[in-house]
Amino acid sequence: MAEAAIRLEQAGYRRSALVEWLTTVDHKKIGILYYWTAIVYLLLAGFLALLMRIQLAQPNMHFLGPKTYNEVMTMHGTMMIFAVAMPLNAAFFNIAVPLMIGARDVAFPRLNAFSYWSFLFGSLLMWSSFLFGHAPDAGWFGYANLSSSRLYSAGPGLDFWDLGLQVLGISSIAGALNFFVTIVNMRAPGMSLMRMPVFVWMVLITAILILLAFPSLTVGLFMIMFDRYFNTNFFNPLHGGDPVIWQHLFWIFGHPEVYILVLPPMGIISEVLPTFSRKPLFGAPFVIFAGIAIAFLSFFVWAHHMFTVGLGPVPNALFAASTMLIGIPTGVKVFNWLATMWGGSLDFKTAMKFASAAVWMLMIGGITGVMHATVPLDYQQQDSYFIVAHFHYVIFGVIVMGLLAGTYYWFPKMYGRLLDERLGSWHFWLTFIGTNLTFFPMHFVGLDGMPRRYFTYAAETGWGSWNLVITIGAFILGLSQTLLLVNVVKTLRQPAAASADPWDGRTLEWTIPSPPPAYNFAVIPTVRGRDAYWIEKYGDGHHTPAATDTMQRREVHQPRHDNPGHSLLPPGVHLPKPSWWPLIVSAGLTAMAAGMIMHGTETLGPLGFPIVGLGVFVVFFGLLGWHFEPAIEHEEAHVSQ
């Protein structure tokens, strides 16, 4: 093999590290870019949350003031959802999915890079609103006509929100197209749909949800844009416009969005629990079909966000019923996870701690969810801190904890090193205590009538003491996340000594070295069942374990490469070629959005449309360049030495 392969750097492929990251189309590197960008945003948006908690710690505080509070609240919500949770999911799509299905990369490696750069530029565009003193301030769901009328929201804040979200939406749709095609088309031989790991299933379902749910948001955002820029009357009641139309469009997107966020972490939990229980996932087909049922039902529940709008008793009753139905497949998942752990030989590594805690948090967040599916109860709870408690149990308790489980679980595949378990344990327990100390008392103040989004409250309400507890909890939660960073720094200073299969794993990513070489699999594996690697190692009653080399055992013994990008290429393996075009097209797209924002301002208005035009120009010629560039390394790079 050695004489057949050549060193890529000898063929003129040596690049500086910076250029390599800017032009990479390797899903593993794009995953790492996604991961760290989203973690930085997690800390930033978490910092915004702490600002709010200082403001609310006691009654009648004047730490932020109403205008800043609205901005901080809106940016916290918007960024946590679109720039933290979704990209962290995308990070694990990239890090794990191609490895789990036995593929060498995704179906469209350059489109994958485009998704990342559009996410980065779109989110930077939104963050930059703070620099101009006009951050969005209409809440993360930007209700019209507060958001659509320049009368009610002057300044470019909502333009940043509207156009920034459009760029992020294009990024998400591109990513969803890519992973849908990758999963459907690129599975290793033998991996039928029902043999796919459950995480891959959840990614597939999520991709479909993104593709079908985001267009509704796109249309709504265009309507807001037209109202703000061209004085149309979509949401202007004086001319017959109806702000409730925005609520429909937003929540037809917004409720599936909840499952876009939570299904991938549920997939991670479904991988971590069996691995550390040393049992197969209990009733895996049920977990998969429960995911499909959740996704299907999620398109028929949106109006439960609108019970108090006045749609009438019949729509409210129907949407209450469909919402309660979602409790069934969610319950199926919880029971299957519990049954997976039941009787297993449990090994509470940090990943396992986070995953099993997430199951518990899902029970609390899920039960309160069924509570406000009940219309009369919702009348009481609407827009109170009870709702804030509910969705933070799901978003932090399940989604972020699930993603942290994924971090500890797949870190060896990212960096070839195992995160420190002692620090990890501290990280987990402080996060767990912080989460519950922050979000559980919100139920109490919510039931006591404390409304969400208000920047302060009177002393007579008696909410001060619980709010102080919540603030203390929030600081424990926020500060404990630095333990993750400490752990990462400490771990990365050690040599990359993790074995290919440190957890005695079940799926294909553990058959190849940690971190994997650029080409992932020298030989594409053949899959004989779900838990493909486990069957080869231990058999499953139907199959006997493989004696030696059928899976990638010999790969495990391959020499380790410090720089996987420059490793030896096995014969016949063609790697995608690094490319500047994704970065350029994303920049053009973001210039279009930035130009529109400038057009809405007084000082920079005349520059707006020229910059939009420049963006269109860059996108068009960027796509042409993309088209002309060969997608894979030239044949001559494979000429043997």
Binding site: I173, V181, L211, D242, H574
Partner: protein, 200 residues
């Protein structure tokens, strides 16, 4: 060799389904685009009849005129199939001819839409005149944008065919373009029926 049945994969590409990555992505994208136009059409209907002032649809819509332009766009679906068939038979002259015809038909449709918009504008229907104007121009405008993007895409491929960058080996790539083009046509049939033909 039927292009619908013949899943000709590009060289070096192996897929589980036998459908090329590009083709599968286009089908998936079109599913997403269905939701995009579905949302726009839903908004049009949500506001239908809630027009506080004129001009009203029956005062401005010219059904015979738009029937002709709809027929022009439909014809372009025929000509693009002929272009695809020519490419499959390695008939580059036929391919270029039918493709140019498709581009011209698409451009004729867009020109017709432009003329229609200008006429409505002179009759007092603008983006801001009433909710009919708002929803009508945004819905048909987004469709026009789709047609425009399709024309640019076809034009690029037409030019590429002269420099040997679009050859019978690229038939799969061109097939994917035709999927998009047919989709844009179908959307127009739906818009034409719902916006123009449904009695107001």
């Amino acid at each position: 060799m039927s292009h619908a049945a013949g899943h000709t994969l590009p060289a070096g590409e192996h897929t589980v389904t036998g459908i090329s990555h590009n083709r599968l992505m286009m089908w998936t994208f079109l599913a997403s685009d269905c939701m995009f136009f579905g949302s726009l059409i839903w908004v049009y209907f949500a506001y239908r009849g809630r027009y506080f002032e004129g001009p009203y649809p029956h005062e401005v819509l010219d059904i015979p005129y738009t029937s002709v332009s709809a027929a022009v766009l439909l014809l372009s679906s025929f000509s693009i199939v002929m272009a695809l068939t020519a490419l499959e038979h390695a008939d580059m002259r036929g391919f270029r001819g039918w493709l140019l015809g498709t581009i011209l038909l698409g451009a004729l449709f867009l020109g017709g839409q432009y003329y229609e918009f200008i006429t409505f504008y002179h009759e007092g229907l603008t983006l801001t005149s009433n909710l009919f104007g708002t929803t009508f121009f945004v819905l048909t405008g987004f469709h026009g944008t789709h047609v425009f993007i399709g024309i640019v895409w076809l034009l690029v491929q037409w030019l590429l065919s002269f420099v040997g960058k679009l050859t019978p080996a690229h038939v799969e790539r061109f097939f994917v373009t035709t999927l998009y083009w047919h989709f844009v046509d179908i959307v127009w049939i739906i818009i034409f029926m719902l916006v123009y033909l449904m009695p107001y």
